[in-house]
Structures are given as structure tokens and as C-alpha cells.
Assembly symmetry: C2
Homo-oligomer: 106 residues x 2
Amino acid sequence: MEPIYDQRAQVFKALCDPRRQKILALLQGGEKCACKLIEEMGMPQSSLSYHMKVLCASGIVVGREEGKWIHYRIDPAGSRRAVELLQAITTSSCDTDNNSCCCAHL
Amino acid sequence: MEPIYDQRAQVFKALCDPRRQKILALLQGGEKCACKLIEEMGMPQSSLSYHMKVLCASGIVVGREEGKWIHYRIDPAGSRRAVELLQAITTSSCDTDNNSCCCAHL
DNA sequence: TTATTACATCGAAAAAAATGGATTTGAAAG
DNA sequence: CTTTCAAATCCATTTTTTTCGATGTAATAA
């Protein structure tokens, strides 16, 4: 498979799991330390670490190191990029109201 | 896990696989019959059928039956719903410029 | 230094997703 | 009716993802 499709898939990989959806919902309330997320998610530390890695790989979440703590938050720029990507890949050429549609001449 | 997170995850499940990304890219060119997708994807019929089921479950793709053929296309309404959902779940309360942020009083 | 704390990584097992041939369904044609 | 064709479903296997205890790493505290 072409790497472009892997890259796109990686962004949405962050969003296709209910646990990561819940983590995102928790982060909507603002920046949270990993230890706080472990507690609120009720999962072992290694499991949360795994999910945070997937979330960060998508660019939607970023971690801020502060001493031995890491504070995670939703990155508005990453969110915007994901939204724009989703728009770009789910807009059919025939949806536009310009004349770029291949069927416009038929 | 709360069912709301499963529902959200299901939408993005359609987008987290490189094969489905490629199918979406093909559908951006306009409606396509399943047999055409099988040919262009180079995968067995049962595999394509599986991926189309995932894509349709997300609401982003819809199938139109015509005799014994099924024509698949990206549904603009489904696309819009997905984009709006993504926006809603990745916007932190602290990103808004109104006073609804919990930190606004600090 | 050693001890402790917070998190990442490892590694094996479990769970879930994907594959693909075989079969079934359902519609159109003969 | 039977045949044919397109697509869904079944099912066993393979692949990928997720889990979680154990271990490693890096920073702080004593």
C-alpha cells in the first residue's frame, strides 16, 4: 500500500478505539498529567503509555515534560490538521459547485 | 466502556486502515461499482465486501443498489457529520474565546 | 551515593481485525 | 423452472493490536 495511505490512517488510528476516545474526552477538560489519566481511566500505567503514544503519533495530542511528569493536552493545530485532512479525503470531486467535476460535461 | 465512545470510534474505524483510505481515494473520483473497486484494489471479493461494510457503518460511504450491482459513493452528509464530530471531540474547552473555560477564572 | 517517583519499553499472552476460499443469497436472464 | 452473475456471509487461518507484569530510564529527593 502506498505510504500516503498509511500516514493518513495513522492520524485516525488515534480515534478508532473507545479507550482513546475517552482519553480525548478527558483531555477536553484541559491538560492532564499521565498519572491523573491512569487514575481516571482505571488502567495500568503501561497500557496508558501505549495509548498516549498512539494519540501523540497522530499529532492530535502533545505531551509537555515538566520534571518527571508529562502533561498531555489536545493540540489545536493538530486538531485542525486532522479536521482538514478528513475534509480533504471525504470530499468527492462531484461535491464541489465549481466546474472541476468530471461529470459536469455530461 | 461507555457506548458513546464505541459509536465515535466506529466512525473513525473506517479511516484507520490504509486499504480503506485507498478505497476512499478511489471514491473521490465519483461513484463506483463494487466490481470496479475489486479490480482497482486487487483484492478478493470477500475482502472488499468486508471493508465496504466498515466504511458504510461509519456513515461516510453509502451504497446504491441497482439490479445486482451496488454502487458505492462518499455521502456528503456523512462526511459533514464525521468532520463535525472530529471537531467536537478535539476541541478543548480552553480553546474557545468565550468565558466557558474552567480556567478562565484563575 | 542510594532511594524514590514517573513514565517508556520489553515480551509473552490474549483479544480483535483482516484474509480468502467456499457457500449462500438475491436479482436478472434464458 | 434453471442458469448466471454480483455481492454478502461463513469460517478457519493469519495478522495486527492490545494488555499488563517486569524491567529500564531519567529526573528528583534524601
